[in-house]
Each structure stands twice: as structure tokens, then as C-alpha cells.
């Protein structure tokens, strides 16, 4: 398999691309010599069903290579991560070749690179000229993530900026109206702006403007944190995925230092990650029921969610599982009570499944959710949707727990449990809730039932983890200091950390700077790829190219569709 990739990359490359050694045998790192080579390799990867994971821009002008660089990461079907390093060439020191035609998911990251670094593709125009992440209050050419920009200078420049006028609204076709919503919403929700293009009640198009919550997190990693302390910021990137974010960060630093966390730490990480998935999926199912006005069940489920969150509090002294992950393992505040986890789950899950089963068969729930907000499999693949949204569209294997298992997930019994979630009916009669797989077709109903099914999967994984913990030595350390290993890692070495959070995979790309500082930390939340998918699910579109039928949603469907994706604004804006 590996030789296949290498042979292919050699065949495509005009001169053989240089391969650099990696600590991790499951990673390959190539340096790309020119634009055509990058495009040819990407094209080949697309045909071979590789996923695009992340694009990291790094300002290495002050280092030996004297240029900006882009690191593309791809996931191969053979559980390998392929890193393509693209140095900017001397003729185009501020522009690069875009792979958007091949992997459209890169678009948000390219827009971000323009706002934060001032770099743009030379073979593709950017969709929005500016204002994707940095809005009116920022000057045009601030480019805050360039290494040459000092914090104090940035603030001076912003202070001197006159506010740019708002762009003039475009013209609309006859009968069309724009309905602006946000950035401050009529509920307890995060900030983001939606412009609905409506004709009557039907949503014809939707433009989503995010970036309101941009806090400069990536710059903050470089200026205020070190490799050892960065986890504190990582867990505050997106509150509901605190544990997954800090875990991905810690794995990136461990990869950088070339160490693994102790086995019992990996079991705890799996257990807590799945607990996070449980409480969020339960909350989302409840929120969806609230949106279809089935408040009786929604209230009951809200109580179950609260029970799960209180379990988090008892285990970790934090309701959102913060303060546990460290590079090198986990630090639990006290000896956790394993029986408590089992009892609480035994209390929550049967009630949850009972309610969910009832709801799935409820006629008005089906009427409201089936064929609402459809994201088809073709669309999901084309735009690179990820996580639960991709799986609910029928892209069932899009799960990093299966594709790149890490730590305790490697164990065959866990792999079987996850496989069963996505196996058509009749997988395992032991499962509390069978998945109606025949209807995983990307509508709100699919996302609802998949959440329910994944709660069952997580319950089983947690029980496996509990058994493993009971068998293991209770005195075994769950954390080992890795300060020395971090120290020993060469400067400007990078590490990749990823984990399958409840929304989808989270990627951290961390490069070491001098004195254990962070030279660059790129955070990629799954929401970055799924916001464009949400738009596709909402707008009016043909069922297929030959048919005259359309998928249509009315304005009142939007809250429900939005909730069924439940994307992070904070994780997108950073």
C-alpha cells in the first residue's frame, strides 16, 4: 500500500519529490517542487478516495527556506496521513496554486489565509474579497498571523483605521427578498449572520457570514502560550467540544515530542471523549425535539443531558470536562468512581432510547424531519463534509475512529462496536437501538437517528473502557511529564494531532519554535467544512440533474436544519 503511494507520487512528480522522515510510521511527508506536481498528486488522491484534512499556512520567511509555506494534510484509505509541503516559489512570493477545483473544502481555509496572511491563489479568484474573518473594524492589509507582525503594532494599526463602509447590496431577481438574521440571534445562541434569499416562504439561497467571534486564537498560541501550556487555550476554542479540542492539541504535542501517553491515559481519554459525545448528542436530540414543538420529550431529554453533565462534574470537577488533558496523559483531580459512571449511564440511556424510539415513530416528527434539509451523498463527498453530517448523508465510513484509530480505539472490540453503528439493520441484536440505515440519506431525520445510534455506540465503548480500567492496575500512572522530550525535539519540527469529536474530526497542527514556544498552531474544527454543507442542505435545489423535482425548505425549517447540524461558530471563527 505504502509503496503504491510512493510509486504514484514519484511517477507524478517531474523530479522525484523529497520525502522527509517522520516519527510516526503512519505519516508521510513530501516536499512539492512545483504547482503542476501538487495538482497532479491531488487529482490522483481525489480519485483514490483520500480526504482533505487541513491546510496550514506557515510564515517561514525568517527561517532557512525564506518563504511562506503551505502544509496540506490528507487522509488515505490505508490509515496513513499524507503531508504535502508546498513552499511558495520566488516568482510568486505571495500567491500559491489553489486545489479548490479538486478539494472544494479548502475554500474556507483559503479565505482565512487571505485575511490572516494576505496570501491568495493565482489560479482561482477568492469568493469574497475580504471580510471573511476580519470584518469592518480591521484595516485591509493587517495580516495578523504573519510572524513579522508584533502584537503592539497590530493594535496601533487597528486604532488608526477608519471603519470601511459596508458593501453595497447586490441586485436581486424579481420577487426575491433578502431576510437578514443576526449576528445577534433571538435566543441563547452564538453570533453569526445569515442572509436568506427568499421567494415567498421558500429559501432559494443562503449566505452565511461568520467571523464575528474571531478572537485571534492562533496568534495567541504563538504569543502567550508554550507547548506545555497550550492545552489551556485549546480547551476554550469550542466549549461543547472542550475535551476533544484539548485532546487533539495534546496528541499534536506528543507527536511532536515522539512520545505516547501511558495506556491507562488512553483508556481515560477514550472514556471521557465518549462521555462528551453522549451528553452533546443527547442535548442535540432534545433541541431538535424542541424545534419541532415536542417540548414534553425535549424537557425530559434536557434532564437526561443535565444528569450526564453532572456525571462529568463528579468525575472531573468540571461540567464540560476541562482541565484534564495534558501533553503526556491525563490528570484526574481524584480517584474516579467507576461504578458511578456505569450506574449513571444505566440510568440515562434506557430512558433516552425509550423516548427516541417513540419519537422516531411519531407521525408529526417524521413529517417535519424526513426530506427536510437534505444533504445528498454526492454533495457531501463533493464539498468534503465531515463527521456526523457526512455519515448521516450515507458516507458511513467517514469516521476517524475507524480510519485512523488511535490509543484505545485500536482495540478490535471497539472497532466492531463502531462498525455496528453503520452496519445495516440486524448488525447486532444486543444493541439497544438499531439504526434505520436504509434511511441514512442526509435529511434531518437521518441526523436525528444517527445521533441516537451513536449514543448507543458510545455507551458500549464506555463500558468496554470501564472493563479495561477495572482489569488494569489502578496505581498505573495516567500521566508522565514530557518536558524533556519536548525540549529535545528539534526546533521547527511539527506534530499532527487529531481526534473524532462528536461533530467530526478535529485537527491540530503544531510547530515548535525556539525555547519550547509554539511557532504556529493551526486549529481545524469540523465546523469549518460543515458550514458550506449546511448551506447546501438549506437552499432550493434539484433532486437530481434529470428530475424536475426540487428539494425545498421553508424559512421555518431553518432552525431545525441548523440544529440538526449544530455547528460551532467559535470553532470556525477562532
Amino acid at each position: 500500500m505504502m509503496t503504491d503511494l510512493h510509486a504514484q507520487i514519484r511517477r507524478i512528480g517531474a523530479q522525484a519529490p523529497i520525502e522527509l522522515p517522520r516519527h510516526n510510521p503512519a505519516e508521510s511527508h513530501f516536499i512539492i517542487a512545483n504547482d503542476d506536481e501538487l495538482l497532479a498528486i491531488c487529482q490522483w488522491m481525489r480519485e483514490q478516495a483520500y480526504y482533505f484534512c487541513t491546510m496550514v499556512v506557515s510564515d517561514e520567511r525568517l527561517l532557512e527556506d525564506d518563504s511562506f509555506k503551505i502544509y496540506y494534510t490528507f487522509s488515505s484509505p490505508q490509515s496513513r496521513l499524507i503531508i504535502l509541503e508546498y513552499p511558495f516559489n520566488q516568482q510568486h512570493p505571495r500567491s500559491y496554486v489553489s486545489i479548490r477545483e479538486i478539494f472544494p473544502a479548502v475554500e474556507s481555509l483559503e479565505q482565512e489565509a487571505w485575511d490572516l496572511f494576505g496570501l491568495q491563489p493565482h489560479n482561482q479568484p477568492l469568493i469574497a474579497e475580504n471580510g471573511f474573518i476580519l470584518h469592518k473594524p480591521f484595516p485591509h492589509n493587517l495580516y495578523p498571523l504573519r510572524r513579522t507582525r508584533r502584537q503592539s503594532r497590530l493594535e496601533d494599526r487597528i486604532a488608526k483605521t477608519a471603519v470601511n463602509p459596508a458593501p453595497a447590496p447586490g441586485t436581486l431577481p424579481e420577487g426575491m427578498m433578502i431576510l437578514p438574521v443576526g449576528p445577534i440571534h433571538a435566543g441563547v445562541i452564538e453570533a453569526g449572520h445569515f442572509s436568506f434569499h427568499v421567494a415567498g416562504e421558500i429559501i432559494e439561497d443562503l449566505s452565511i457570514q461568520l467571523g464575528y467571534k474571531h478572537k485571534g486564537i492562533e496568534k495567541l498560541f504563538e504569543t502567550k502560550f508554550t507547548l506545555a501550556t497550550g492545552w489551556e487555550l485549546a480547551e476554550k476554542v469550542s466549549g461543547d467540544a472542550s475535551f476533544a479540542h484539548s485532546l487533539a492539541y495534546c496528541r499534536a504535542v506528543e507527536a511532536l515530542a515522539g512520545v505516547n501517553a501511558p495506556p491507562s491515559a488512553e483508556i481515560w481519554r477514550t472514556l471521557l471523549l465518549e462521555l462528551e459525545r453522549v451528553y452533546n448528542h443527547i442535548a442535540d436530540v432534545g433541541a431538535m425535539l424542541h424545534d419541532i414543538s415536542f417540548d414534553v420529550a425535549a424537557s425530559e431529554i434536557a434532564v437526561l443531558r443535565e444528569t450526564a453533565v453532572r456525571l462529568n462534574q463528579r468525575l472531573t470537577q468540571h461540567r464540560l470536562l476541562r482541565g484534564i488533558n495534558r501533553p503526556g496523559g491525563v490528570i484526574l483531580p481524584h480517584r474516579p468512581n467507576l461504578a458511578d459512571i456505569r450506574q449513571t449511564l444505566d440510568q440515562i440511556t434506557p430512558r433516552f432510547f425509550e423516548l427516541s424510539r417513540f419519537v422516531m415513530e411519531l407521525s408529526y416528527c417524521r413529517e417535519r424531519t424526513i426530506a427536510t434539509g437534505v444533504l445528498t451523498l454526492d454533495e457531501a463527498r463533493a464539498i468534503g463534509a465531515t463527521g456526523l453530517a457526512a455519515r448521516a448523508s450515507g458516507w458511513r465510513t467517514h469516521d476517524f475512529r475507524l480510519r485512523h484509530p488511535h490509543g484505545f480505539y485500536v482495540s478490535p472490540s471497539i472497532q466492531t462496536i463502531i462498525q455496528e453503528t453503520i452496519t445495516p439493520d440486524g448488525g447486532n441484536p444486543q444493541r439497544n437501538i438499531p439504526l434505520y440505515t436504509s434511511s441514512l440519506n442526509g435529511d434531518v431525520f437521518s441526523r436525528l437517528i444517527l445521533r441516537v445510534a451513536e449514543v448507543e455506540t458510545s455507551r458500549q465503548i464506555i463500558f468496554e473502557a470501564l472493563d479495561a480500567l477495572a482489569d488494569s492496575d489502578a496505581a498505573a500512572p495516567t500521566w508522565q511529564p514530557i518536558q524533556q522530550e519536548i525540549q529535545n525535539a528539534p526546533n521547527h519540527e511539527f506534530g499532527l494531532g487529531f481526534t473524532e469529536s462528536w461533530r467530526g474530526e478535529i485537527f491540530y497542527w503544531v510547530m515548535k519554535g525556539p525555547n519550547n514556544t509554539i511557532f504556529r498552531c493551526k486549529v481545524r474544527d469540523p465546523s469549518v467544512f460543515n458550514w458550506p454543507a449546511l448551506r447546501l442542505a438549506v437552499i432550493r435545489k434539484k433532486v437530481d440533474s434529470r428530475s424536475n423535482h426540487h428539494w425545498e425548505n421553508i424559512l421555518a425549517d431553518f432552525p431545525l436544519i441548523n440544529k440538526s447540524f449544530n455547528l460551532s461558530y467559535a470553532g470556525h471563527d477562532l
Partner: protein, 155 residues
């Protein structure tokens, strides 16, 4: 008995009540809130949402969230105040009948972990002067929020 007869029975009962019960206690007060996100991590929002679950049920104390700032007694502000939300935040405050803000979470006090970045700004004076209460925590638990709001309501 059908729905209409139940409604009629209740209606008759209601008619028979001639005057509200008298009490010497202070009149019950309510507190209508509007949420304003100024760049939080979504942690405080999760806990604010938890206030409406049946275990906390803030509505029983007269505390509830409104859809419009025009109907609200106070703004509940979360997050470290990002530059991109400055304009929207000021417009929201301007739409309030009276400028009262309650800040929630450590980063709404002084930026906390998000201090000193180019994207966070000092709050303008009209926002700063409207802040009457701060609820600390990262994020504060629903119990802490509820207790603080009840205290705020009676003061």
C-alpha cells in the same frame, strides 16, 4: 368531557375569583433577559441554556430569556468582546429600554485567557458603564448563575 368543557370550567372558576389574594410580602418581580454573545467559546451559552431545563427551570423564578432587547430588563453578556461584534453589541444595547448589563464568565470580566490579542478590544464606555453585575466562573454553573440572577432580581 371534551376540551371545550374543561376550558369552560376553568373559565367559570376564573370568573368566580373576585380579587387576587392579598399578601404582605414584596410584590413578585420578574427579570427578562436578552443574551448577547460577544465572542464566547459557547461554554456560557450551554450553561445558560441549561437554566431552562426542568431541573433549574428559571422561569419559575420569573427569570426568562427574551427574543428582543426591547423586551428585556437586562442584557446577559458573555465573551471577551471581539472587535467584529463591537457594532452589533452597541446597537443591541441601544435598543434596550434601560441600559443594564450582567456579564457572565471570566472572559467577560477582563478577557481572561483571551487577553492581549489584536481581535479583542476594550469595551466602549457606554457598555462598560452599563455593567451592573458580574457572575464569575469558566463557565459558571447553572446553579451559580441562577443564584446570582435571583439576587440581582431582588436588589
Amino acid at each position: 368531557m371534551n376540551v371545550f368543557s374543561i376550558v369552560w370550567k376553568n373559565f367559570k372558576q376564573w370568573l368566580s375569583v373576585d380579587k387576587p389574594p392579598q399578601s404582605n410580602a414584596a410584590p413578585p418581580r420578574s427579570l427578562y433577559l436578552r443574551h448577547l454573545d460577544c465572542g464566547s467559546c459557547n461554554g456560557c451559552e450551554l450553561e445558560l441554556n441549561a437554566l431552562s431545563n426542568p431541573l433549574y427551570d428559571s422561569v419559575q423564578y420569573g427569570i426568562q430569556f427574551e427574543s428582543s432587547p426591547r423586551h428585556a430588563d437586562a442584557l446577559v453578556m458573555t465573551g471577551p468582546y471581539t472587535r467584529n461584534l463591537d457594532e452589533a453589541a452597541r446597537l443591541t444595547l441601544a435598543a434596550m429600554p434601560a441600559p443594564i448589563i450582567i456579564t457572565i464568565g471570566d472572559c467577560a470580566r477582563d478577557g481572561h485567557i483571551f487577553q492581549d490579542t489584536y481581535a479583542i478590544m476594550e469595551r466602549p464606555s457606554e457598555i462598560q458603564s452599563a455593567i451592573q453585575q458580574h457572575i464569575p466562573g469558566c463557565p459558571p454553573t447553572p446553579g451559580q448563575i441562577l443564584a446570582a440572577l435571583q439576587k440581582f432580581k431582588t436588589e
